[in-house]
Amino acid sequence: MLKYTVRRLLGMIPMLILISVVVFSLAKLMPGDSLSGEIDPLNTNPQYIAEMREKLGYNEPLPVQYFNWVTDFVQGDFGKSTRFKVPVADVIKEKLPNTLFLGVTSLLITYILAFLMGMYSGRKPYTIGDNAIAGLNYVMLAIPSFVAAVFAIYFFSFHLNWFPFGGSVDIQVEEGTLEYWISRFHHVLLPALVLGTLSTASYTQFLRNDIIENSRKDFVRTARAKGTPMKKIYNVHILRNSIIPLVTFLGFDFAALIGGAIITETIFTYPGIGQLFLNSVTTQDYPTLMALTMLLSFLTLAGNLLADILYGIVDPRIRLD
């Protein structure tokens, strides 16, 4: 197992180098640069823009720029955001807790819903209830999150007044108090619900199919022959076996947790990584954009590795070495 992990980790290095080349070239291929948005005769003049380009090193040959960027990056210096004028690492650190909070909450909602729906569908496959659940799941999978977000705000925030329509916390409550955490939870709930309920399909259907498959296995027949109640068979024997493959999904959710929900965060004006990512694209904040893309690529690779290792742990039949 250890050997396998080390081998996979080493294999990630060329992959990351390739990704860094792609990220860098794509960023440089984008038209304009972080200063092209500052054309404004009131506040600035062409000389300033030319000077800043020189200062930021945009006039150096591309290989030199790439080399500088990679060397700094490896040493943990992600550069300075051209937009916020502070180190990118600080900007990310500032937004990360919000995104994690939203990500974990929405994931929990997905798990709970998918668990309930999957169990029901697995136990009563091909019934009206099962079909209804499948239909509902795919409809929600098909709804774009931004449409759902706008409707959720309109209905739950403005019409019913149940949730705040944006932000991550009420600024008027004292930080650190119980009230503060309640306020944060209240703010995160609606975006988390939108994100969580829309992505139940894969979990539900996976669980359902696994339960159906397991219910035809020999150990189920044996248990039934011995007179074990059906309830117990489903809730203990089958479920325990069917949950195992689901664990590996966690690895894939890893990157999604950090990456945040780009559009949803923007609509809810929820200051997280997703909103930061979108804004750094529109304002051409390359250092932030490149650092985030690298970070997310790395997390996706790490998530895949984690998923593979988890497979080996929960199912000893799979040999990794």
Binding site: G32, D40, F146
Partner: protein, 576 residues
């Protein structure tokens, strides 16, 4: 079943349309006027007696970047927040003329200015404001390590260049007389020295020890900024909200409100938030106007803006190294052609359709509310007249010779107008550009539209890319109305490459102190002369000027708006 499908299709289209309408957010123009200055003149409010206390919610439509200092900010939303807790030393009235605020001034020759500060003006940390804070601001901005864009506001002080290049330790043109008096000498006498001068002090008591290169990242800019305005910043939640409370030692009279909460509100939520009373005051995009108007608890207030939209013609090519126009492009040199294209456009209809009544047709490159704007009676107003356009085209030799329904150029060759417009996420841009090409096609000019990604767009414009022939653009003007930066032949941002020595001479004369002295009327007359020339020659087709729109909850009182922006937030109040 088939019907059912169609129903869903329509329903989905409607959903999409509703969404697109809701998210058609910020306009992608390069320049937004963010030089709003507070107007602190005393006002008797129409809505009744000011009431003390209460909290007001102030909405902004994009997350602030968090650079809460005038010397460092980059976007208009940050400037809006700064405007609530800080104010400039010099103010502007509704004619955009400078007025004393904290500082008053005297000058005899427009080269040497003597400024006197009011005594007893306090920073939010309790320190008294002195002229040293202003000197500190100049030296910060003129420092070679300074990473903001405001150096052009300090550059004209004598000795600023020498200070920046490290040849001098101080700026020689700045002479401190005492804590409340200062003399500033400019490198030469200009009529707009005062309006161009950097008008914000920087708190030396807190930023004095911070190296200039680290200032924009420091807590005094990002999380605990201070100013001299009527409200002080209590708390900032980065990227979403700011809490401000009354500053009891504010120098200029009483402050009515207890608190102002600034909240970021996404464009898709603005209407709902206004309706529910979750936000009391917010600037609107024109597209939200028709939805907000019917709300019973909200008033819409408009005031003149300082920006105009145009369709420009590429008349030449610019050589940036030599700072001259090096080449003339022949295609659009015919004045009659340009005028005909102007007559062909129904600008009123266009502005009503795409700006929902919040824009006015303009006939000159100067916003109407500026003191130097020419009256429309002095100008050709180019009222929509397709017949006249056709006559002009016929006379200039643009006639249909091969019977394809479109006109050929005077040599008998195919004539196709290429029109470029920038593309952002805003879905109204393409139809509004399309509408312009349709007006031209109606008088027989074949037109092609190209939508270009916004960042690439300005790069192509600047480099005179051959694929840019006619283009859509917008400019905004500041408190000084001098249009040199976007109009003179030696300027990079003169995108049309309009080259008329006679017009440039008028612009130079209007800034020349030997010619106009300190007489504003004389200056205005020269600008009016200039507007007559560019109105006749139409190197760009002037389309419309925008109005600024503010939505105000009816419980808010004490507000006043004019072309210089809102009055001081100290006067605002909420009814209980």
């Amino acid at each position: 079943m088939k019907n059912n499908k169609r129903f869903w299709l329509i329903a989905m289209f409607l959903t999409l349309a509703a969404f697109l309408a809701a998210c058609s957010g910020s306009d992608g123009d390069a320049s937004k006027d963010d030089s709003s200055t507070d107007d602190s003149k005393d006002s008797a409010t129409a809505e009744g007696e000011p009431q003390k206390g209460g909290t007001m919610v102030y909405g902004i439509d994009a997350p602030p970047e968090g650079l809460f200092n005038s010397a460092f900010y980059g976007i208009a939303t940050d400037a809006e927040v700064i405007g609530l807790f800080d104010e400039a030393l010099i103010d502007y009235n509704e004619k955009l003329e400078p007025q004393p605020n904290v500082a008053s001034w005297t000058t005899e020759d427009n080269k040497v200015f003597n400024f006197k500060f009011k005594e007893g003006v306090k920073w939010h940390n309790g320190e008294e404001l002195t002229v040293n804070d202003w000197v500190f601001a100049f030296e910060t901005i003129a420092s070679p390590d300074y990473d903001g864009p405001r150096y052009s506001n300090v550059q004209t002080i004598e000795g600023a260049e020498a200070f920046r290049s490290g040849k001098a330790d101080t700026i020689s043109g700045v002479e401190v007389v005492n804590d409340h008096e200062i003399n500033i000498t400019f490198d030469e006498a200009r009529v707009n020295n005062l309006t161009n001068l950097w008008p914000y002090p920087l708190p030396e008591s807190v930023l004095g020890d911070v190296p200039v290169a680290e200032m924009s990242a420091s807590e005094w800019v990002r999380t605990t900024p201070i100013g001299i305005g009527p409200f002080k910043v209590d708390k900032i939640v980065p990227g979403e909200s700011v809490e401000l409370s009354r500053f009891d030692e504010y120098w200029n009279g009483d402050v009515n409100l207890d608190k102002i909460i600034v909240r970021v509100i996404d464009n898709s939520s603005v209407v709902g938030a206004l309706q529910n009373g979750d936000v009391d005051m917010i600037s609107l995009q024109p597209v939200s106007g028709p939805e907000v108007e019917p709300l019973e608890n909200v008033d819409i207030i408009t005031y003149p803006g300082l920006s105009y939209y145009y369709v420009g013609f590429k008349l030449g090519k610019f050589d940036n190294a030599k700072q001259t126009i090096s080449e003339e492009l022949p295609k659009y040199q015919s004045k009659e052609l340009r005028q005909a294209m102007m007559y062909a456009i129904n600008r009123q209809e266009w502005a009503d359709a795409f700006f929902f009544g919040y824009a006015k047709v303009v006939n000159k490159p100067v916003p109407t509310s500026h003191w130097n704007a020419a009256d429309d009676s002095d100008l050709n107003t180019y009222d929509y007249d397709p017949e006249k356009a056709k006559e002009l085209l016929d006379a200039a030799g643009y006639v249909d010779t091969n019977g394809d329904g479109f006109r050929e150029d005077p040599n008998g060759d195919e004539f196709v107008v290429k029109f470029s417009h920038y593309a952002t996420g805003n879905p109204t841009f393409e139809p509004r550009a399309q509408a312009i090409t349709q007006y031209w096609e109606e008088v027989g000019i074949q037109s092609e539209l190209e939508m270009v990604e916004v960042n690439l767009y300005y790069e192509m414009l600047e480099k005179d890319d051959p694929s840019m022939e006619t283009f859509f653009g917008g400019w905004s003007t500041g408190s000084d109305p001098d249009p040199s930066a976007t109009w003179k032949a030696d300027q990079l941002w003169n995108y049309t490459r309009y080259n008329n020595p006679e017009a440039d001479k008028l612009l130079d004369d209007a800034l020349n102190i030997d010619i106009v002295g300190t007489d504003q009327q004389k200056r205005a007359d020269l600008y009016i002369e200039w507007q007559k020339i560019v109105n006749e020659e139409v190197p760009m087709l002037y389309i419309a000027e925008l109005e600024e729109i503010v939505a105000l909850n009816k419980r808010v009182g004490g507000t006043e708006y004019d072309v210089s922006g809102s009055n001081s937030p100290a006067k605002w109040f909420v009814k209980k």
